[in-house]
């Protein structure tokens, strides 16, 4: 029995997203240009993926969190571009949710419709070269001026920054108050004093460009502050809760696709005169992959239902991030072993998933950090 089986509306949405993914994503790995990615991003907007959370008045579809999770999981099942699905999830949980929670009505109207349609791209600029795990030890500053604020600092590892038209930037407004002296701001690509860097080369996730944002005497008006002054820590906590709980929604779909591919391969590939699924060392791996998929789905969907009930879920969120990222990495390695040399060839799903999944145990807070959070909240 599937406790979180989709209802009719969710089922129809899942099918729509799967059809979209099959039609849209061709196997073009390693050759995605900025222009291609922008085009794919717009197609995600046209398919309604970027507006799942936003109200209809802003161009969204105002889905429940659980319905949103069904859609994102379905995307992962048929979109082989794990980088792009990560970017879509990153937008929903780390750009859309802080805007919906902290933005003024004017800010929502100004930014969300174009972000949701995919015409423009947003990013969440928190990390810096020396403040990854200790995220709130960031050094970027926002000094008050007569005309608003002047921002200085260097942001790093920002997902989709190289293509972004706007960024949510965390900076210190009162350095004497530690994390309570942080505030959030909206910076636009066209602002004087901001530079969005080129894509950083990395091991996997090629269709999610990571990059730096350089702020040098970047003057912005007071209406660019996101939420009250000093609410940066709260915005960080709120955003991380959403992100860590759900950013792997599509990767859970990918794990379902992996299991199907591996099962089919193990049934058809023969050695010593019989299918390799008949060997316990192979079937054990498939069993482990099945258990990882199931436990990941259970955590993911349970968290979605808790959020739909309005609950705060910091521990569940950290458990989701820890478990699903580790499960995806472990199952990707198992898939590689099951496919053997075939899976090690560049461009195969196994090679791609293996490289993509490695990043998952690092971004959005490493597994070590998630364990610290979980144990602190016992």
């Amino acid at each position: 029995m599937d406790l979180f089986a989709p209802d009719d509306v969710q089922l129809a949405l899942r099918q729509k997203i799967r059809d979209f993914a099959v039609e849209t994503f061709v196997d073009d790995r390693g050759n995605v240009s900025e222009q291609d990615l922008r085009k794919l991003w717009k197609s995600c907007g046209d398919a309604g993926l970027l507006g799942l959370l936003a109200p209809k008045s802003l161009g969204g579809s105002a889905r429940t969190i659980h319905t949103c999770i069904h859609a994102l999981e379905a995307l992962g099942e048929d979109c082989p571009e794990n980088g792009l699905t990560l970017a879509v999830n990153g937008f929903l949980w780390a750009v859309c949710t802080p805007l919906l929670t902290f933005a003024s009505e004017d800010q929502k109207t100004r930014y969300l419709p174009e972000l949701i349609s995919g015409e423009k791209i947003g990013c969440f600029a928190l990390s810096e070269m020396d403040s990854g795990s200790d995220a709130l030890a960031l050094q970027a500053t926002a000094q008050t001026t007569e005309a608003g604020y002047v921002l200085n600092g260097e942001k790093a590892w920002v997902g989709m920054a190289p293509l972004a038209d706007m960024a949510i930037v965390l900076a210190k407004t009162d350095p004497s108050k530690g994390p309570w002296g942080l505030s959030a701001f909206i910076v636009e690509r066209t602002d004087a004093g901001v530079t969005f860097g080129r894509p950083m080369e990395k091991t996997g996730l090629e269709t999610s460009f990571f990059g730096e944002i350089h702020l040098k005497d970047c003057h912005i008006s007071p209406d660019r502050r996101l939420g009250p002054e000093g609410a940066g820590q709260s915005l960080f906590s709120s955003t991380m809760e959403w992100e860590r709980a759900f950013i792997f929604a599509s990767h859970v779909g990918t794990m379902a696709r992996q299991l199907t591919e591996c099962t089919n391969h193990a049934r058809s590939r023969e050695t010593y005169g019989k299918p390799i699924i008949g060997y316990q060392s192979v079937s054990n791996r498939l069993a482990d992959m099945r258990v990882r998929l199931e436990t990941s789905r259970l955590l993911l969907h349970r968290a979605a239902i808790l959020k739909d009930q309005g609950q705060t879920i910091p521990q569940e969120s950290a458990m989701n991030k820890l478990h699903i990222s580790e499960a995806f990495a472990a199952s990707s390695l198992d898939a590689l072993r099951i496919f053997g040399a075939r899976g090690y060839l560049a461009g195969t799903n196994q090679d791609q998933d293996f490289r993509d999944s490695a990043g998952g145990v690092i971004y959005s807070g490493t597994s070590d950090i998630q364990r610290q959070i979980i144990s602190r909240l016992l």
Partner: protein, 88 residues
């Protein structure tokens, strides 16, 4: 006078929670600075907020989690009083 008594009664669970959860059982004064002590880091403030929401049956929007509200037990108490009045 009644209002002052109500606030004082409201302060007890706040200072008790903070004493137990953030100050290793030490007595917490209503005007004690919670920010500079470092007692309320990002996780502690989430737990404290969850306690306040449950104990006082109020909802604390994320935008309100600022130093102005969480500076001392007294500012927290005043905020709760204000939220309760708004809810009536």
């Amino acid at each position: 006078m009644e209002h002052q008594q109500s606030d004082k009664a409201q302060l007890v669970p706040i200072t008790s929670y903070l004493s137990k959860s953030c100050f290793d059982g030490e007595t917490v004064d209503p005007t004690q600075d919670l920010i500079m002590s470092g007692a309320l880091d990002s996780l502690a403030v989430m737990q404290f907020t969850a306690f306040l929401e449950t104990h006082f049956a109020i909802k604390i929007p994320a935008q309100d989690i600022t130093i102005a509200v969480f500076e001392t037990p007294l500012t927290v108490s005043n905020y709760i009083t204000q939220r309760q009045k708004e809810a009536v």
